[in-house]
């Protein structure tokens, strides 16, 4: 069998976009291999997600439901995927490189003695061998290592926002197969509480305003500019580290890649792990005090200025009637 299995991640009753993106790509890979694409959904009362997974490209959807599986648990979910994979022997297993996706993949790959590549930003089938080639960002994203697994199951975690999903319209023709999961053991990790807000969609915004350390002293002005532009707020890593914004707003190789038409970068020097997050953006404007900062080679327009002084004037200029 050379089927491609895709682990479908869902949170609060919604399938993560990255799972749909992987399904779209898997469909294209499967066509080359003359193979089927199969989704795996694990949870409690999640059967309603299966239709959409089928419409987005899955030829088969395995649904494993149990009350114990209501919330993600590394141990229980690892066991369920292990059983499904061992019974059906796919050639590939693709998982979104989310927090829980990478949590699952690391453990599962050792359990299954599978080759695992990480955070893939490109997936291809190698001519001649039919092996999966995954481009893995390394050294802050400046270099891509093209990796393959030459024995056993080929696993890869896949970066969000890279591949295009199929639209949700139409009717799914996929077969939906219910699996009775064999989970009885009590997991050793228990969720005491969770606090999940609406996920910021910095990766999909048309305009993004990114605040760096140089703009930290005047976040009120940053927020005003963001509002004037109808933009999403992004931040560099130090600001997320300081808790000034949530991690889903962190731009760069350890966060989100923006694909906006316009990105305004305020007070960021341009560390390599950051700039890989804005390199897919359309126009980039940087306002920064240091003319020698690496950000200048990643921007279309460089303004050498203290953004604390400049922002009030820009905001004034953008207001209607001016």
């Amino acid at each position: 069998m050379s089927d491609i299995f895709v682990y479908i991640e869902h949170n609060n009753g919604r399938t993560e976009d990255v799972s749909f993106e992987i399904l779209g790509k898997a469909k294209e890979l499967a066509a080359k291999l003359n193979a089927a694409v199969c989704g795996i959904i694990i949870g409690d009362s999640v059967g309603n997600l299966a239709d959409d997974v089928s419409r987005r490209g899955a030829d088969k959807v395995y649904v494993a439901e149990d009350r114990l599986l209501e919330k993600y648990s590394t141990e229980l979910y690892t066991k369920v995927v292990e059983d499904i994979v061992n019974a059906r022997k796919p050639s590939m297993l693709l998982i979104g490189a989310t927090y829980n996706g990478r949590d699952l993949a690391g453990r599962l790959a050792v359990r299954l003695h599978a080759g695992l590549t990480a955070n893939a930003v490109s997936l291809e089938i190698e001519d001649g061998t039919n092996l999966l080639l995954a481009a893995v960002p390394s050294y802050g994203g400046s270099i891509h290592a093209v990796c393959k697994s030459e024995r056993g199951l080929q696993m890869s975690t896949v970066r969000a926002g890279v591949f295009k999903p199929f639209p949700s319209g139409g009717k799914g023709a996929g077969e939906i197969i219910t699996i009775v999961p064999n989970v009885s053991a009590k997991p050793r990790v228990r969720v005491i509480e969770s606090s999940v807000g609406k996920k910021a969609d910095v990766g999909k915004a048309e305009i993004v305003v990114v605040a760096g350390l140089g703009a930290m002293g005047n976040l009120v002005a940053v927020e005003e500019l963001r509002k004037e532009l109808g933009a999403e707020l992004g931040v560099t890593r130090p600001l997320a580290d300081k808790g000034l914004a949530t991690r889903d707003r962190q731009v760069g190789s350890t966060g989100v890649s923006v694909k906006s038409k316009l990105t305004v970068v305020l007070g960021a020097s341009g560390a390599s792990h950051f700039v890989s997050g804005i390199d897919s953006s359309g126009t980039v404007i940087s306002i920064n005090t240091d003319p020698k900062a690496p950000i200048s080679s990643h921007a279309d327009y460089n303004v050498i200025e203290d953004c604390n002084k400049l922002l009030p004037l820009v905001i004034k200029g953008l207001r209607p009637g001016k």
Binding site: V110, N119, Y139, C147, K199
Partner: protein, 263 residues
């Protein structure tokens, strides 16, 4: 309590370039440092020791020259450092790497907590902590930002899609610490002098860990690198906006305006 911390010595990201012709990594002159997230894991370990007592043991895998880099955690307050060094460990992907580190934890014995950084800055997979936990049959908590011991269990805040959750894990457990979640302490000056001159790093090879050639290093790896590519940086205009403060602001507004049409 016994706390093991796995750290990776990596070349400074800024120092690594791809040779445009040979497509090989150019790491000559690159400074070797403790991976940033692993410094956060080390700090989390030292905090656990401050709060609960016990000892902190640092584990790293790499060539003998990395002994020098392991003096820093000692100067910061770690009690012992073990370097897993053997030619046969070379070229390992995450599968043998997690096995080798797990075998060292097993040899140390009776560890209550195994801490790791969330991922390394060079290959950045984030898959090793879960692998270690699987080899040791321990529970795992990944992307933790706050690690405490409460009533004999690890209580951690961890990042998930769109927010955080607080989880409780039985001990022993493997915990990966989120990058940037704390500020690693400075080395103690006197301890540093002692670490540099007196302290001996323990070195273990494959025989010390009872590992066979075909399960470690390149031979034990399931993946291989076919080629390296330079990530395509887009063409940029590199236009410098000059003038007085007012003129600069005006030009920015002119550039931005077309993007607002239809909004």
């Amino acid at each position: 309590m016994k706390i093991a911390v796995c750290v990776k010595i990596v070349p400074k990201t800024e120092d690594v370039k791809l040779d445009p012709v040979t497509k090989n990594l150019k790491r000559e002159g690159a400074e070797s440092v403790i991976n940033e997230a692993d410094r956060n894991a080390l700090e989390a370990a030292l905090k656990l020791k401050d709060a609960n007592g016990g000892e902190v043991i640092v584990i790293s895998m790499g060539p003998p020259m990395f002994e020098q880099q392991l003096k820093l955690p000692i100067a910061m307050g770690a009690d012992n450092a073990i370097l897993l060094s053997d030619r046969a460990f070379g070229g390992a992907d995450t599968h043998p790497t997690s096995l080798t580190l797990a075998s060292a934890v097993r040899k140390i014995g009776d560890c209550d907590v195994v801490l790791c950084g969330e991922e390394s800055s060079d290959s950045g997979t984030g898959h090793v902590p879960g692998g270690i936990a699987e080899w040791l049959d321990m529970p795992q908590v990944t992307f933790a930002s706050d690690v405490r011991i409460v009533d004999g269990k690890a209580v951690c805040k961890r990042t998930i899609e769109g927010g955080t959750e607080t989880v409780e894990a039985t001990l022993p457990a493997v915990i990966s610490v989120e990058l940037g979640t704390n500020t690693a302490r400075f080395p103690d000056f006197r301890r540093k002098r002692w670490a540099d001159t007196q302290f001996k790093v323990t070195v273990w090879g494959k025989d010390d860990l009872g590992l066979k050639d075909d399960e470690i290093g390149k031979k034990g790896s399931f993946t291989s690198v076919k080629e390296l590519r330079e990530a395509m940086a887009p063409e940029r205009k590199h236009s410098l906006i000059e003038g007085t403060l007012e003129e600069k602001a005006k030009k920015i507004v002119e550039i931005v305006k077309p993007f607002l049409e239809g909004k």
